[in-house]
């Protein structure tokens, strides 16, 4: 067991830290009038800037524009970005999910074609997995991909799609063999969003925002050459993507959550009730300490998982517990913030007296999605039960 960084990793981190210090744009305060388009354009410029300086795709192959470093450097990168309060990069899904999937399953042509433009944010990606009747049951996909010469003709209805409104490409899973068993017969295919027949409709969330959209594909023609992996083995490819989602997400989460924790501590120190700061209330101290302990445990459990993935190369099903951990931690933490802030915690963006621009009111509502998105807590517990503990399937 040795958690120290190598001299090279330290050098990497220090260089990155210095670069970020010099280049991270000033934060745009919450509540600033800015359209979705303006915001996205800003993130796109920022990603391009990182790319030009050689910081995009840290663990990606060099010949595709990456840096060719290990997963640990990638983790350092995510941590430093979070620490510097840098904006996220525009091409979130391309960088975090679809790029790694292309690296793993793509042909050399596909890699050369798609990866550099993911890194430079020249082409933005979205993903089409979930359907109205295939949420937790990912394999229940009904979208139809019918072979017609050297094209697939796709009719699909996808939901919970992020970035669809701005995406150039979509990584889509469709059913190409309706006669095969549920998990067979699926194909992972890369679709140009400018193809005729593609429509994007926003879904409004309970928190008021529209992070997500529905996608409709009507008789969309996609070349067979755009299939990633083999035809009818899309389930395997999609699973790989889902695993990646779990593996790297935690690295930046710990930093973001730690910042929220520090903000809440500051709030209790600065807020006087009954003549004393809230931070001196024994009950509140106990609860804050508990939250700190949980967050630290998550940080080191995540560290352990990343270290393991970086030595084995593949994220395993045991990572499911980390998804449960951070999502349920965040719900507990935001509830604690609500208890501490009382009615002020419920004031939303734009309201007088809203704390931190309404970040806490938004944050609390947003957490309800945490135990649903990227695999519900129930699904994660099923995965642990079946794939880790070896119980019969319960669903």
């Amino acid at each position: 067991m040795d958690l120290t960084l190598t001299p090279e990793q330290i050098q990497f981190r220090d260089e990155l830290r210095a670069w970020l210090k010099a280049n991270v744009p000033a934060p745009v305060p919450r509540g600033t009038e800015e359209s979705m388009e303006q915001r996205f354009a800003r993130l796109r410029v920022w990603q391009r800037q990182l790319f030009d300086a050689g910081w995009a795709g840290v663990s990606w192959p060099k010949d595709c524009g990456g840096r060719g470093a290990s997963l640990l450097e990638q983790v350092i990168f995510l941590e430093e970005m979070a620490r510097a309060q840098a904006p996220q990069m525009a091409n979130t899904l391309g960088l975090g999910l679809i790029g790694p999937t292309i690296i793993h399953y793509g042909t050399q042509e596909q890699k050369m074609r798609y990866l550099p433009k993911i890194l430079s944010a020249e082409e933005i990606w979205c993903q089409g997995f979930s359907e109205p009747n295939a949420g937790s049951d990912v394999a229940g996909i009904r979208s139809d991909g019918r072979l017609d010469g050297d094209h697939f003709v796709i009719n699909a209805h996808k939901v919970w799609n992020s970035y669809g409104w701005v995406a150039d490409w979509c990584a889509l899973v469709v059913r190409t063999d309706p006669t095969a068993a549920k998990h067979k017969g699926l194909t992972y295919i890369l679709v140009d969003m400018k193809s005729p027949g593609v429509e994007v409709r926003p879904i409004r969330q309970m928190s008021g925002e529209s992070e997500f959209a529905e996608l409709y594909f009507r008789d969309v023609r996609v070349p067979v050459a755009n299939v990633l992996g083999k035809v009818n083995s899309g389930w395997e490819v999609a699973l790989g993507t889902l695993m990646h989602e779990r593996a790297t997400l935690g690295s930046s989460i710990t930093i973001v959550y730690r910042r929220m924790f520090d903000k809440l501590v500051a709030y209790t120190k600065n807020t006087i009730r009954s003549g004393r700061p809230l931070s001196e209330d024994k009950g509140i101290r106990q609860k804050l300490a508990q939250a700190y302990a949980e967050l630290e445990v998550f940080r080191v459990a995540q560290l352990r998982s990343v270290a393991r993935v970086s030595s084995t190369g593949v994220p395993g099903p045991e990572g499911s517990f980390l998804k449960i951990f951070w999502s349920e931690y965040n719900q507990r933490f935001q509830q604690l913030a609500q208890e501490i802030m009382g009615p002020y915690g419920t004031l939303e963006e734009g309201s007088p007296y809203a704390i931190d621009g309404g970040e806490w009111a938004y944050g609390f509502l947003r957490t309800r999605g945490n135990t649903i998105e990227a695999g519900t807590s129930e699904i994660q517990r099923n995965i642990i039960g079946h794939f880790v503990l070896g119980f019969p399937k319960s669903y």
Binding site: N133, A134, G140, T346, E348, Y353, L365, R368
Partner: protein, 375 residues
């Protein structure tokens, strides 16, 4: 001994349910909540015609002189449909304080229009440090000419924007005083806050040299403390009754969804994980309901444990409604997270209610004083 409602009470409850289901469908609630002012004057008038605005007030002011159990039964139904607007603040909050604090002339002047449904009202209580101990409040009334002049700022005032008058809790020579302030009094200003509950708005209310006549002072000192104490008990009871109704409806919506939504080739309601989430929702809903009706009964009969029963209901319903919402959203999966699904409207009401009229920690501390310190 019977815990169930009497036949008359059941009839009242049934009528209220039917009326509200017809008059206040969710589509209407959604339309209202998207506006700046969710109060529906026409609906309020109809409720007044039902006698609800005067339900718990004396007959001489146009009321029906019914009890707390009837109040709970009615508010439970209002909570089911998320009734938007100022009924709650007018009747349960301002009305009950007025009833307890005012003299006959004052009641004739302000309580009668409440009963008739021609006036809306609210109460301005907590301040920037949102504490419920009256000793912490600092807004003042000072004698001035034949009346009083008010200064200070009140926070999280429920439905202040639609109120015709506001019962303000202020300090008069260092003692608590309850003063009626007309909404159009010069120097009174209302600034909307934007909070979770879109169907029930809260505001900041400022008094800057607001002059009122001597007859606007309802009570002061011990009488004011007692009237406020009573009024808040009534308001908390109404709030928790609404919460119990909201939970029941959220549970219905959730079980209905789980019986139709299919995943893995079966309705998700067949999975134990889903059933057990719903079973917990059922436990909280039924338990809250029992707590609310017991509190209503205790308040009605002025039992010694009434204060404790009210705080018990608030503590328990606060946690329960939130948790019912949490699980309801979880069972809905992604659907539960959308604006179009109704779950979040109940959830927003749950969260707003949890922090309204004394957060859970405040009511726990109140209980601690009653059951630890007093023994």
């Amino acid at each position: 001994m019977r815990f169930e409602l009497s036949e008359t009470q059941q009839l009242l409850q049934k009528t209220a349910r039917q009326f509200l289901t017809n008059e206040c469908p969710m589509a209407e609630v959604r339309k209202r909540m998207e506006t700046d002012n969710p109060h529906d004057a026409a609906l309020h008038k109809k409720m007044a015609e039902q006698g609800w605005t005067g339900m718990i007030f004396p007959e001489e002011y146009g009321g029906m002189a019914l009890g707390m159990v009837e109040l709970a039964a009615t508010f439970e139904q209002m909570g089911r449909v998320l009734l938007p607007g100022a009924f709650f603040s007018t009747v349960a909050l301002a009305g009950s304080i007025l009833d307890a604090a005012g003299n006959p002339e004052q009641k004739a002047k302000w309580l009668t229009p409440i009963c008739e449904g021609t006036a809306l009202a609210t109460a301005a209580l907590i301040e920037e440090s949102p504490e419920w101990e009256t000793a912490t409040w600092s807004a003042t009334a000072k004698a001035s000419g034949s009346g009083y002049v008010l200064d200070g700022k009140k926070m999280f005032v429920t439905d202040a924007a639609t109120a015709d008058f506001i019962v303000a809790a202020v300090k008069l020579s260092g003692e608590l005083a309850l003063v009626v302030v007309p909404a159009n009094a010069p120097g009174l200003s209302v600034r909307a806050l934007r909070s979770y509950d879109l169907t029930r708005r809260v505001s900041e209310v400022s008094f800057q040299g607001v002059n009122v006549g001597a007859d606007h002072l309802l009570a002061k000192g011990a009488a004011a403390e007692a009237a406020l104490h009573h009024g808040l008990n009534v308001a908390v009871l109404a709030l928790t009754a609404e919460m119990a109704g909201g939970m029941a409806r959220a549970l219905e919506i959730t079980t209905e969804y789980a019986k139709t939504r299919k995943q893995f080739d079966t309705v998700i309601g067949k999975f134990q994980a889903v059933q057990h989430l719903c079973a917990d929702m059922y436990l909280w809903t039924e338990s809250s309901r029992a707590a609310v009706y017991y509190a209503a009964y205790a308040l009605d009969k002025r039992l010694p444990e009434a204060d404790a029963a009210i705080s018990v209901a608030k503590v328990y319903a606060g946690d329960s409604y939130r948790e019912v919402g949490n699980r309801g959203i979880q069972v809905h999966g992604g659907m539960g997270f959308t604006w179009e699904n109704d779950m979040h409207l109940f959830y927003r009401r749950a969260k707003a209610s949890e922090s309204a009229l004394g957060e859970t920690a405040y009511h726990r501390e109140r209980l601690a004083r009653l059951v630890i310190d007093a023994v």
